[in-house]
């Protein structure tokens, strides 16, 4: 059981809008994956998830998603999480339309 812990970010959807958000180190829900707190310790990850789950009026369905360190902040590991940072591929809708300048990050 000595497998290395894969770093995580806490992510959820906003209650009112449904938008994908990420928990930052200073407890803000950001629309940007790269602004998320990259959690590299399993116990801390559980604490942060509990903290997120308590914010019932802010977000829905918080969970820990695998992430990795990148030049501009945490980057997603799995393609599903990569899609969540952008929006659908068939239209310029979602984050890629709302924040076009931040999509390269």
């Amino acid at each position: 059981m000595s497998r290395r812990f894969t770093p995580k970010v806490v992510t959820a959807n906003r209650l009112r809008e449904g938008d994908v958000v990420y928990l930052t180190a200073d407890d803000v829900w950001s629309p940007f994956h790269h602004a998320a707190e990259l959690i590299e310790d399993e116990a801390h990850a559980q604490m942060r998830l509990l903290h997120a789950m308590a914010q019932k009026l802010e977000v829905v369905g918080p969970y820990l998603a695998d992430a990795k360190r990148g030049p501009n902040g945490p980057e997603p590991v799995h393609f599903r999480e990569a899609f969540r940072t952008r929006g659908p591929s068939n239209y310029d809708h979602g984050k890629q339309a709302d924040f076009p300048a931040d999509m390269g990050a």
């Binding site: 959807n13 449904g18 994908v20 019932k56 009026l57 599903r80 899609f83 659908p88 068939n90 239209y91």
Partner: protein
């Protein structure tokens, strides 16, 4: 078409009021998400990958121009200017905000629509042949029976907590356009020796992770016995269905585990108990419903203009050859409006397109519109002399694509571009296949070929019954696409066979092309369809083309 009774109206309004308060209580914190989730799902509201999604029922695929315009209004006011027609004759809005949903439901109620029972373990929207009431091959319009089933199943106290969701499809024609054999209950109208109409009742079909073709449990059910018999099926399932295991909870597993003979016997036994309890009120109701589905007053006028235009204009002729179907009145045609323009998302219609289709239905189509499970829109009753005008108007808004039944008329679920359950994308695969074959200019030469794509094992994209089926999976963190061949959703229903290892995202379109080129090289004549060729030759030539062509493999 059917108009809401006072009962329907007050029921739907009461549900809107109830859900409005539930949303308020969620937003002020009185309800937790755990408490709210089942309530929103009962009203068709999902939380998807990027946003909420509202699924609105279009009962048996029938919709009026007024309703279509209201959907356009909702798309413009509360969404991003479009809606997505689904394989269950629903429409989905992909971007509603939670605080707006009560207003959307209220706007739907204004035009006798709702999102009730579009989710959850209940009887879902009853689907029907999209050519119902118009098709030349039809015994009887199945929609009065579908409406009877809708009224019976809506809020039915015994069937709100079934082991799993329950889907009923109905067709009045021998040619099955409603995929009845892949439903929990499929109803196909037949005639007995005396010439009376009744139903062949098929039970236990379904797609998903365990695809099964339904078994016929009754060869001939008199139409007057429909409700007690369907209630008997539900009742047996409600008792036997596996509530212990979500993956074994559909009736197809119940039928499989119980055996066709035994479950037929149990259904008949229950039916014998239930039949005497139906005292005729259902038949009186059915008579009232039938009046609402009376055929329109067909016009009697010459069709010379159509014939002349058909001869003169090759673009119109191509569209007429693919997108028209035989109407029971030979001066009329059934128009399938392709919502599958090459490169566009299958089943997505913009608000402008919705309004134009509503206008055409009103002006040329006796005020009738249908949504097909193949994600197209139908004008079921158009006089042939009006077809050139209809075609010209459709062309103005990108709806005149002549591809119905061809390789680019693809069913695709929303896949991982929207759906929280998806394991891979489907939409970009569909658009790339359509564009590739358009570039090759081969689709008319290929002829009838149904490609169906699902972005996960749940099979909303009906891939098991695609002539070519594509299933998107997550293989070790990479999108991978499995191909099946020989599936068929018609009266000769069959589940497709897997070709072998899957293909990566950038390999799946070339793989489909190799299959199609293999077909073109081995068919005996242009008249032999892909499915016929597959049935004659089996998997081998296609497997060879897929896996033995040089440098083309990407086995996973």
């Amino acid at each position: 078409m059917y108009s809401y009774s006072d009962f329907d109206e007050s029921f739907v309004r009461a549900r809107v009021a109830q859900f409005t308060q539930q949303v308020e209580r969620r937003l002020d914190g009185s309800l937790t998400e755990e408490e709210f989730r089942p309530l929103r799902l009962m009203n068709g509201l999902y939380l998807q990958l990027h946003a909420y999604m509202l699924r609105v029922a279009i009962p048996y695929g029938t919709i009026s121009p007024r309703q279509m315009r209201q959907l356009a209004m909702i798309a413009d006011t509360y969404d991003k200017g479009y809606g997505h027609f689904t394989t269950r004759q629903n429409i989905q809005f992909n971007w509603p905000k939670l605080p707006d949903v009560p207003a959307i439901l209220s706007a739907l109620a204004d035009v006798e629509m709702h999102a009730i029972q579009t989710s959850g373990n209940c009887v879902r929207n009853v689907t029907a042949d999209h050519f119902a009431g118009a098709a030349a091959d039809e015994i009887e319009d199945p929609r009065p029976y579908a409406e009877l089933l809708r009224q019976w199943s809506t809020d039915h106290p015994e069937f709100q907590f079934l082991p799993r969701k329950f889907k009923i499809a109905i067709t009045g024609a021998p040619n099955d356009r409603a995929v009845t054999r892949a439903h929990d209950i499929g109803l196909r109208m037949v005639k007995n020796a005396a010439g009376e109409p009744g139903f062949e009742v098929m039970v236990g079909g379904g797609l998903g992770r365990t695809p099964m073709i339904a078994h016929t449990v009754r060869d001939f059910l008199p139409v007057a016995d429909l409700l007690p018999y369907v209630e008997a099926v539900l009742s047996v399932y409600n008792t036997l269905g596996r509530r212990d295991n979500k993956y074994k909870a559909r009736i197809k597993i119940t039928v499989h585990e119980t055996g066709k003979e035994e479950i037929s016997r149990m259904i008949e036994e229950r039916f014998a108990e239930l039949r005497p309890l139906f005292g005729g009120a259902d038949q009186a109701l059915l008579d009232d419903i039938r009046v609402a589905f009376a055929p329109p007053a067909f016009r009697n006028a010459p069709v010379d203009a159509y014939d002349a235009f058909y001869k003169a204009d090759p673009v119109f002729r191509s569209w007429a050859d693919t997108n028209l179907a035989a109407h029971r009145n030979d001066q009329y045609a059934i128009v399938t409006i392709s919502v599958k323009a090459h490169g566009q998302t299958p089943g997505d219609a913009s608000s402008d397109q919705m309004r134009l289709m509503a206008d055409l239905a009103e002006r040329y189509g006796h005020g009738d519109l249908r949504i097909s499970h193949e994600q197209n829109v139908i004008l079921p009753h158009v006089h042939k002399s009006d077809l050139p005008a209809v075609h010209a108007a459709l062309a103005q808004v990108g709806l005149a694509t002549a591809n119905v039944g061809l390789i680019s008329d693809i069913i695709a679920c929303p896949g991982m571009d929207y759906c929280a359950l998806a394991t891979a994308r489907s939409i970009p695969i569909a658009t790339q296949i359509a564009e590739r074959f358009k570039a090759l200019d081969l689709e008319h030469e290929i002829g009838p070929l149904k490609i169906k794509i699902s972005g996960c094992i749940n099979a909303c994209g009906h891939h098991h019954v695609g002539h070519i089926g594509i299933l998107g999976l997550d293989r070790a963190g990479v999108e991978n696409y499995q191909i099946t061949l020989g599936g068929d959703g018609s009266e000769t229903a069959a589940i497709g066979d897997k070709t072998g290892p899957g293909f990566a995202y950038d390999e799946i379109v070339p793989a489909v092309e190799r299959i199609v080129r293999a077909y073109l090289s081995v068919r005996v004549s242009p008249e032999e369809t892909f499915l016929q060729t597959f049935r004659r030759l089996g998997m081998e030539p296609f497997k060879t083309a897929l896996y033995e062509s040089e440098g083309a493999q990407d086995a996973a």
